[in-house]
Amino acid sequence: MTERRFEGRVALVTGAGTSGIGRAICQRLAGEGARVVVNDVREEDAREALGALPGGTERHLAIAADVADSTSVERMYARVVDTLGRIDVLVNNAAIPEGRPGEIASINDRAEQMMAEAMKTGRSSTRFDMFLRIDDTSWRRMLSVVLDGVFFNMRAAIPRMLERGGGAIVNISSGAALVPTPSLPHYAAAKAGVLALTRAAAADYGSSGIRVNAVLPGLIDTPAQRAGLREAMRAVLAGQAPLRRLGLSEEIAAAVAFLASDDASYMTGQSVEVNGGIH
């Protein structure tokens, strides 16, 4: 890749320490000339991801901040501008797959039961029953990381982008925001909220030079996906996409880079689905 669309620009990617997609986005932006701020909750995760970037600590910055904590987010942006002087691109990638430990495992159990029943009788009467099983703590945790986190980062980034005459924000939403997702209603609701934030900010800040778009990944082959979704289920889901495979983190990164770059200079408020045609 010889193209360098982000030469001279500073990009911040949240949740980029451990996430496969976040790391791929950092690689792509750094590879195209950006100085990257790698954010994650844990300092060592952010540092480790930074270590893999071309230019390393000479060019890039690792900052630990909990996106669900507005004070910690605000402090992060102050440091970004102090150290790198500006912020041009924000990628809101930080997310969690479950509201409390054990949720994913129990969802997998039910999904396997459903698949077994469906293969035997053509239909299944098993339910996920997440509306009965998501407790207050799980609901709030999901909303605070996935939705509050995006809002806090946008609130901190926008004034600093306005100071320099513009910028680009790319929010990682999810196909779950658009299609019925009975296994993860809290995640789906938070990701749909991300789309509403995307459109609202796009409408208000477009004339001030800030573009805001969303990428909606389908099923992507990441370490978290492999850990969360059992093999049989992944094979079934991969086969359902017209392209008949799971996506790669790099394919999400390519869409993010497109939207964050001047190649998408007339696109704002848009939702770009990268899902192999599953929706």
Partner: protein, 276 residues
């Protein structure tokens, strides 16, 4: 190194506007391009403008609404290049007749005059009642049938190849209601449906199909619309200006190239935020 190195692309309606910008961008990214327009002269005008960089470009004059002509165009492409990696179904028309255009422009100006004077607008577009059979058939013929005929021929090359990317030019008018050019909106809406259906069918063959739904773009086609009409379109746009053909070409490049390798069945809309 370009994003389309070694690829062969066919761009319909490549003689002007968005099509010309796409040809220019694709050539800059290393593609060999067959440039189609209604006449070979129009197609050649794009190639001539690009000069020596377009050495590998080839002009074809074809009316895409005629399935026989489309078949010979693809025979020509196959003979010359031996393969096809990218098809951009871009050929399109604005109004079907000068009368239609004039009525729309006149009404738009009357509405704008009322609004500037602080009056609720009295003029109405009253478009559809005056659409002739010929006008309707021409819109459907060039946009929807043209897209179908070219796609069908392209799949005959791409499916056996096991790869390919088709990019269809729809319109933001297919996504949100507009009180004028209702035949155009319907034809472009058909292109969106065609895109989704063929994406699902062609995906297992390794062929991706996507659409672009541009908003108000600064092209020769758009230049025929009155300032009042275009002004109303972009007045409330978050990005308060018309888009440039290059800003559509960059979207076409993303979808046509491996940058969009997991994107299929989608509609990307560079519209300045008018439709979200």
């Amino acid at each position: 190194m370009g994003k389309l190195d070694g690829k062969v692309a066919l761009v319909t309606g490549g003689g002007s506007g968005i099509g010309r910008a796409i040809v220019r961008r694709f050539i800059a990214e290393g593609s060999r391009v067959a440039v189609n327009d209604l006449t070979a002269e129009r197609a050649r005008s794009t190639i001539d403008e690009l000069g020596s960089s377009a050495a590998a470009a080839h002009a074809v004059g074809t009316d895409v609404s005629d399935p026989d002509q489309v078949r010979s165009m693809f025979a020509d492409v196959r003979e010359r290049f031996g393969r096809l990696d990218v098809l951009v179904n871009n050929a399109g028309i604005g109004e079907s007749s000068a009368d239609e255009l004039e009525n729309v422009n006149r009404t738009a100006e009357a509405i704008l005059a009322d609004m500037m004077a602080g009056r609720p607008p009295a003029a109405r577009f009253d478009f559809t009642r005056h659409v002739t059979d010929e006008s309707w058939q021409r819109q459907i013929g060039v946009h929807l049938s043209g897209c179908f005929y070219c796609t069908r021929e392209a799949l005959r090359l791409m499916m056996p190849q096991g790869s390919g990317s088709i990019v269809n030019m729809a319109s933001a008018a297919a996504l949100a209601g507009q009180p004028v050019f209702t035949h155009y909106s319907a034809a472009k809406g058909g292109i969106v449906s065609l895109t989704r259906a063929i994406a699902v069918e062609a995906g297992p063959f390794g062929v991706r199909v996507n659409a672009i739904a541009p908003g108000a773009i600064d092209t020769p086609m758009g230049a025929k619309l009155s300032r009042a009409f275009v002004g109303a379109l972009i007045a409330r746009a978050p990005i308060p200006r018309r888009g440039l053909p290059d800003e559509v070409a960059s979207v076409a490049l993303f979808l046509a190239s491996d940058e969009g390798s997991y994107v299929t069945g989608q509609v990307l809309s560079p519209n300045g935020g008018v439709v979200m």
